[in-house]
Amino acid sequence: MSKSTLVSTTVNGDAVEFACPTDESLMTALRDRVGLTGVKEGCGTGDCGACSISLDGRLVCSCIVLGVEAEGRTIETVEGLSQNGDLHPLQQNFIDHAALQCGICTPGFLVAAKALLDRNPNPNESEIRYALAGNLCRCTGYDKIVRAVQATAKDMRKKGRS
């Protein structure tokens, strides 16, 4: 058993502490110690984006961040997307547009798509495709994912105006 370090963070708005060995990834810490298994492991090498989270507002692959690096920082995962029992518009549009099949990549896509829309509420198709190029999906061919993000951007702009 390796020696653990205590890490204090804010996860999805709540204060969370966990203890993990210094060589453990943040992905593993979130999954196995915090219980957020919506953070998915597809590769463990930062190539597939299934473990995407927001760390202090920046989109990262949590598999190539150490758990101890999260000390004092703010984390957002897919589990924090829906607020007050309502699905985030991205979540609803992914369902409505059949933008998921097996769903293993979906949490990472949602986190990455939210990061895009947070900084660019009106992305064109090409901007969406490049913003999501770090997330691998093997089921959908990305077609319905891009459409779901386009629909969300449109919905959120409309809502923003009203």
């Binding site: 058993m1 995962t77 992914f94 369902i95 059949a98 769903g103 990549c105 949490p107 190029a133 061919g141």
Partner: protein, 755 residues
């Protein structure tokens, strides 16, 4: 009970519309539980030690140091998995593939395994296992493996299908030949003959979720396995057989599956996890790394194929021959045989012959990958079709239409086709606006066709009606592409109730009869058929309960639009009873209301597709970009068009990845050099345009709703569609897939040098 599975033309209320999937909310909120998302009290972490050599004798395995490490609870080698297969060579191969028995047969072959209290301890323990290897000569290329000088992987393999029986063992496990007519006579009639050779590299299904399971074996043999799989009933039977467990005592629950595409039809770490758990008497969780997934699961074959076509000046093909060499990894497979069956299946060619060679190499044991073996054969045949059209100065699509298979055509692999959709897909392609869209400089357009058999198979389904009138549908085929949605729609259609009132679940192995894998595009076809029959059985019960309620003979009760209706003379004034009303009274009219069905679903309708691909080739770099893509496929009947489109788009994209980028690269040392998503590059979002789809519906006469499987055919045409587009864009015929930038650039340079 026998059921009539004939297609009946009817108006649907639910089927054919678009409903959201019942697993959607769990999947967008992170609640859905996949293979790696379960845990059990006292669980250990299991890890596998793998061979670093392509081929090596294992002289000695010393596990004593690992066993002594604090926190290690069990260490196993092949000696902990005694051979109980009793002469079943197929099972013996599975066992040996799960863990090497005296010889490591490929880079990544499992040699030993440990279970420890945590990941770090298990990793440390692996390093303490001392394995003495003696390296043996290896071979990884399919053509080299067939040479008489190649190192022989198994001295028990004597080529089947050749006369006289070989006296020496070789890497050729079997030769297959099939076809119709007289090809020599056919070629003698030809005005034009095309001959070309092709190669395709090995690709992986590339599901994003690595294999993962949680196993628990008690000393009395009662066991549980939570696992990501395409078929938990088959996993149960195989694991029970390998470990000597009773089938009924091993409960296997399928997790949500994070992609399979054929790759989760075979066991790898599951028997190891069970053996580790049995030895430690603790639950053991195992999650493969991506490196392990690439090196040690079941990718598809690499191939080498020769095609020869002869035709009259009018485009009529007089003869066709293909010789197909497929490697199956370090164990015998039947992949070349499947290739023979599919190669010319789109066409009505009087004289045709396919010869298949199944070959062993020092690579992982090949598993199914979406329409297994068909994409490579189609790459060769559909490329040759375009070469033939060019030679004949005909449009490529017209040559295909001239020779297209129809109802009544004798298929190369034996059967005579019933109603099939290949001609309709070609006509739809010809009429599609995509075919008339203008191309820019360096762009070209290609068309290709594809075929897949589709299968049915053993299926068992339960339908239980709750007292509030909502319905649980328990199915045994794992949902890989949205089948819970389509099966709930089918149940709602039959019962005449709302889709929202049906909840489909995947039942564990203790709750239903045996179900075959979700493979061969059979999930919605087979479980759909079983769901229809189960619902019809439930309707009979509902009618009986209405008859009891009314005090009339059941013969006088009909089921219409979700209601029991009294039809006999003298019952005219009885108000109809809804399913909900009958369910509410079920406790007083005879108890729970259910329907059940076990069936071996026969008559899976063949799947045919034609694709259009526009590609732009960069003459400076050789990089090819897909600029437009259209899939036209016959679905028989699209239950939920959203998910049918999803299958078309996903399959096409996998085929595009295979065509342009994906390949296993082995070094001279026989080790895989790119076991990760960085170097094994699957298509990303920015690589692709929208994938347009057109669903055709030519009903399958052997399914009550006309359903054909739709999951696999879409991966068959893309390799050739891309190759044909590149040929039209850049003037080079690419015979080697993937058509990666270096290969295309080399071909462009060679063309330029040839002047």
């Amino acid at each position: 009970m026998a059921h009539d599975n004939s297609y009946v033309d009817k108006k649907f209320n639910v089927v054919g519309t678009r409903f959201n999937r019942p697993d959607g909310i769990d999947k967008v909120t992170g609640k859905a539980r996949y293979g790696a998302d379960a845990s059990a009290p006292g669980q250990l972490v299991g890890k596998v030690l793998r061979s670093p050599h392509a081929h090596a004798q294992i002289l000695k395995i010393n596990t004593s140091k690992a066993e002594k490490l604090q926190g290690v609870k069990s260490v196993i080698t092949f000696q902990d998995l005694p051979d109980l297969t009793g002469g079943d060579q197929g099972m013996a191969d599975i066992l040996e593939n799960c863990m090497a028995r005296g010889r490591a047969l490929y880079d990544g072959h499992a040699v030993a395994a440990v279970a420890a209290v945590d990941e770090q301890t298990a990793a440390k323990a692996l390093k303490l296992i001392d394995v003495k290897y003696k390296k043996l000569p290896h071979v990884t290329d399919v053509d080299e493996a067939m040479l008489p000088t190649a190192p022989v992987i198994h001295d028990r393999i004597f080529t089947r299908g050749v006369e006289p029986k070989p006296t020496k063992p070789s890497n050729i496990s079997s030769r297959t030949e099939m076809g119709n007519g007289d090809v020599d006579a056919g070629f003698a009639q030809a005005d034009v003959i095309i001959e070309h050779s092709f190669k395709t590299e090995q690709t992986h299904q590339g599901y994003i979720e690595p294999h993962a399971c949680l196993a628990s074996v008690n000393p009395d043999g009662t066991s549980e396995l939570w696992v990501t799989t395409q078929g938990h009933f088959v996993f149960r039977n195989v694991c029970a057989g390998l470990l000597g467990l009773d089938i009924a005592k091993l409960k296997v629950t399928s997790s949500e599956i994070g992609g399979g595409f054929g790759g989760k039809t075979h066991v790898w770490v599951e028997p190891i996890a069970l053996a580790l758990s049995r030895k430690a008497n603790r639950p053991v969780k195992m999650v493969m790394s991506r490196d392990e997934v690439f090196r040690a699961t079941g990718p598809t074959s690499s191939t080498s194929i020769d095609v020869k076509l002869g035709a009259k000046k009018n485009g009529q093909i007089t003869a066709a021959v293909a010789e197909l060499r497929y490697q199956g990894g370090a164990f015998p497979g039947n992949w070349a045989m499947l290739a023979c069956m599919t190669a010319f299946a789109c066409y009505d060619i009087k004289n045709n012959k396919s010869i298949g060679w199944d070959v062993l190499v020092n690579r992982p044991k090949v598993a199914a990958y979406r329409a297994p073996s068909a994409p490579m054969a189609a790459f060769a045949v559909e490329s040759a079709m375009d070469m033939l059209a060019k030679e004949l100065r005909m449009k490529a699509i017209d040559v295909r239409l001239k020779n297209v298979a129809r109802e009544g055509t004798l298929a190369p692999y034996g059967p005579t086709y019933g109603p099939i959709g290949i001609e309709d897909t070609l006509k739809a392609v010809k009429a599609h606006p995509h075919m008339r869209a203008k191309l820019k400089p360096n762009q070209g357009r290609g068309v290709a066709c594809g075929f897949w058999f589709n299968i049915g198979g053993q299926t068992s389904t339960d339908l239980n009606i709750g007292v509030d009138g909502t319905v649980n549908l328990a199915v045994g085929t794992v949902d890989v592409g949205g089948s819970r949605s389509s099966l709930a729609m089918i149940a709602a259609e039959e019962l005449g109730i709302d889709y929202e009132d049906v909840k489909a679940n995947i039942a564990d192995t203790t709750s239903l009869g045996h179900n075959d894998m979700t493979e061969g595009s059979r999930g919605t076809f087979s479980s759909g058929m079983a769901t229809i029959y189960a619902a019809r059985e439930a309707i009979e019960v509902l009618k009986q309960r209405a008859a009891i309620t009314w005090g009339i003979p059941v013969e006088d009760v009909a089921w219409e639009a979700g209601h029991a209706v009294a039809t006999g003379k003298g019952h005219g004034n009885l108000p109809k009873l809804s399913l909900r009303e009958i369910a509410a009274k079920s406790g007083r009219t005879g108890g729970p209301i259910a329907g059940h069905n076990e069936v071996t679903a026969d008559g899976a309708g063949m799947g045919f597709a034609s694709h259009i691909c526009d590609v732009e080739v960069d003459p400076e770099t050789g990089r090819s970009t897909i600029v437009r893509y259209t899939v036209v496929q016959d679905a028989g009947k699209a239950i939920n068009p959203d998910y049918v489109e999803g299958q078309f788009q996903g399959g096409a994209t996998q085929g595009i990845g295979w065509a342009l980028n994906e390949e296993y690269i082995y070094g001279a040392d026989g080790r895989l050099q790119n076991p990760g998503f960085l170097d094994y590059r699957i298509p990303v979002c920015s690589d692709l345009p929208f994938i347009d789809t057109k669903i055709l519906e030519i009903p399958n006469p052997s399914h009550p709703y006309g359903v054909r499987g739709v999951g696999e055919t879409s991966i068959v045409p893309p390799l050739a569609a891309v190759a044909n587009a590149i040929a039209n864009a850049a003037g080079v015929r690419m015979g080697h897939a993937p058509m990666s930038p270096p290969r295309v650039l080399a071909a462009l340079d060679a063309m330029e040098n040839a002047g």
